[in-house]
């Protein structure tokens, strides 16, 4: 297949766009995972919830209202989950946590069905981000460029907070050795609560951002869960670097896999996952060395 440079630029942008969307989702999950060894399988449901909140809010006050308030609303749901369920489950071991959060997926799935119905919803792209921009010699949808830019901004902000601030140092200390961090006077439990809420808000943000691109359906949370888990397993648990690397690898493999080996498109990423698990079971950039 002879394709020109523009074609490959377009595909590279597609890969980057998908990566950034997954990054928003996986970063919250991976830090919660790394910090407290807490397996929150319901993370995908929070993403779906973000999309639904955004769709409802957008119907009332336009896209931007959904964009800014959906993450807040999802963080609110996160607080409810934390105080109602997750706090009690903290010491009960991974199997119980997996079962409870897995059950939560179905509870939330049916709750969204009851509140919003079975029909798919959608949000229009805001007027500001409609159309296409000429970028690197190709015409690319503005909204997709917005997703890439937003992902990079969140990445920069998280890199700054985790790497350069005191709270970042506390989080890193907690991920590295939570018992020692607690001995040094860090309130690890409160830290976990904060990180959990931020993770939930980011999942909600991902949902709000993905909604105009995809359709808002009750099962969207289940569909995104596997890719997110693949990202953090490839990248390594608990680290920002791992989430970035995992997302980029997933985005590139999915996009270029679909172009170069379409028959293998759905298998490639699982094959890669298997290779990573065999060669480096802890992932490429685990938080703990």
């Amino acid at each position: 297949m002879a394709h020109d440079l523009g074609f490959w630029t377009l595909q590279a942008l597609n890969a980057l766009q998908l990566s950034m969307l997954l990054f928003l989702l996986s970063i919250g999950l991976t830090v919660i995972f790394g910090l407290m060894h807490f397996v929150n399988l319901a993370h995908g449901s929070l993403y779906a919830l973000g999309a639904y909140f955004a769709a409802s809010l957008a119907a009332v006050g336009g896209y931007w209202m959904g964009f800014f308030l959906a993450p807040v609303a999802v963080a609110g749901v996160g607080i409810l989950l934390y105080s109602g369920l997750i706090k009690r489950m903290r010491k009960s071991g991974p199997m119980a946590q997996v079962l409870v959060t897995f059950g939560l997926i179905f509870v939330m799935l049916d709750l969204t069905r009851i509140f919003w119905g079975d029909l798919a919803l959608a949000i229009e792209v805001p007027a500001l981000l409609e159309g296409r921009l000429a970028f690197l010699g190709v015409e690319y949808p503005t909204y997709r460029l917005f997703i890439i830019a937003l992902g990079l901004m969140i990445l920069a902000a998280l890199a700054f907070v985790l790497g350069r601030t005191q709270i970042g140092a506390m989080i890193r200390a907690g991920v590295d050795n939570d018992a020692m961090a607690a001995c040094l006077g860090i309130n690890v439990e409160r830290l976990f609560f904060v990180v959990f809420c931020v993770g939930c808000a980011l999942a909600g943000l991902a949902g709000a951002v993905a909604a105009p691109l995809l359709s808002v359906t009750p099962d969207m949370g289940l569909q995104i869960l596997i890719p997110t888990l693949i990202v953090i397993v490839i990248g390594g648990l608990g680290s920002l670097k791992g989430a970035v690397a995992g997302s980029l690898i997933y985005g590139v493999v999915q996009t270029f896999g679909a172009v170069l080996a379409p028959q293998l498109a759905s298998v490639l990423i699982y094959a890669l996952l298997a290779v990573v698990l065999v060669i480096k079971p802890v992932g490429l950039f685990p938080a703990k060395g």
Binding site: D110, P141, L213, A258
Partner: protein, 390 residues
Amino acid sequence: MKRAILAALGLATSFAMPAAAEDIKVGLLLPFSGVYAALGNEIEAGFNLALEQFAGETDATFEIIREDTEVKPPVALGKAKKLILQDDVDVIAGIVSSGVLGAVRDMVHDAGVPLIVANAGNDEATGADCSPFITRMSFSNSQVNRPMGSWMHEQGIGKVYTLAPDYAAGRQMIDAFTASFTAAGGEVVGQEFTPFQKTKDFGPYLAQAKASGADAVYVFYAGGEAISFVKQYDSFGLKADLPLYGSGFLTSQLYVNAQGPAAEGVITALHYVPTIDTPANATFTEAFTAANGRVPSEFAVQGYDAARALIEATKTGASDRASLATALREVKFEGPRGTLSIDPATNNVVQPIYVYETVAGENSLTQTVLAQLPAEADPVNGCEMAPVSN
């Protein structure tokens, strides 16, 4: 529920009355949860509407027992067994997923219970796996796509790029289109099947379609995938140079408004469009909209015609499993989609196909019918069935 109570009341009072009318037990086997819940509800709404409108035409009364398949073949098989053995139903109607149809096929065939299929379009169900007890009132996958191949070639389109999800229905729809399009002299310059329900970003495929040098793109997507696809197609600005055609499920009335302006100008073919200009359709859409607050989709009309077929069958005096199965095979009536009849060779519905364009209406999207393609019976596809005998 209300209907069941009414029917039960009818049954109770019938003891007092001489010459009791036949009471027919109907098992309604539909997904009320899971990914196809919206379709199940739509079909049930249509089914109930037809019972309301036409039940007066027959002496029979109907008792409905609804069961949720959850879109899971093993669950559906269990529910079908319950309907047949425990509830002792005379007829089953429904079935959205072809996987579910495959699972219950042998059960209904061996038990000799007539099944009116209200959606599942798998070609084999009225082909190699056909049964004198299974009558399909909805469509077959190739039926809705085959006429589009020659029609598009007549419109001067020479090269097409096709896309569909990688599962049985996706392949059957595209294969039927490809066969008639190439037979008419067209060329398929590229063909891709995307991982089913795993593809969120169609960007990679759209860039390939653009680079393929095709005159148009022909696709089949349904539900959430259809919404994502149409919106992403529009966001890449492809519609102007590379018009989008497809199987009509792509811009189904059920979710076209979620696609918004992105769906304008998309041309697709289907067995039903809410804007078909006939008195029968006007009556139907009006009554359905009044009852449900939304314009009916093809799924609603499938449920409506499934109930209608059952009523027509009972008008011949059929009242038990065997006589209903025979009567259903000879049903013919004028419905919202036009004249419907059952092909005696396969038990699949024979119906016209409408080519329509999605256009902006007053405050929502609507459809303009561009062409009505004549009704054709599907090829027999390996179906061997005894002819109808009375």
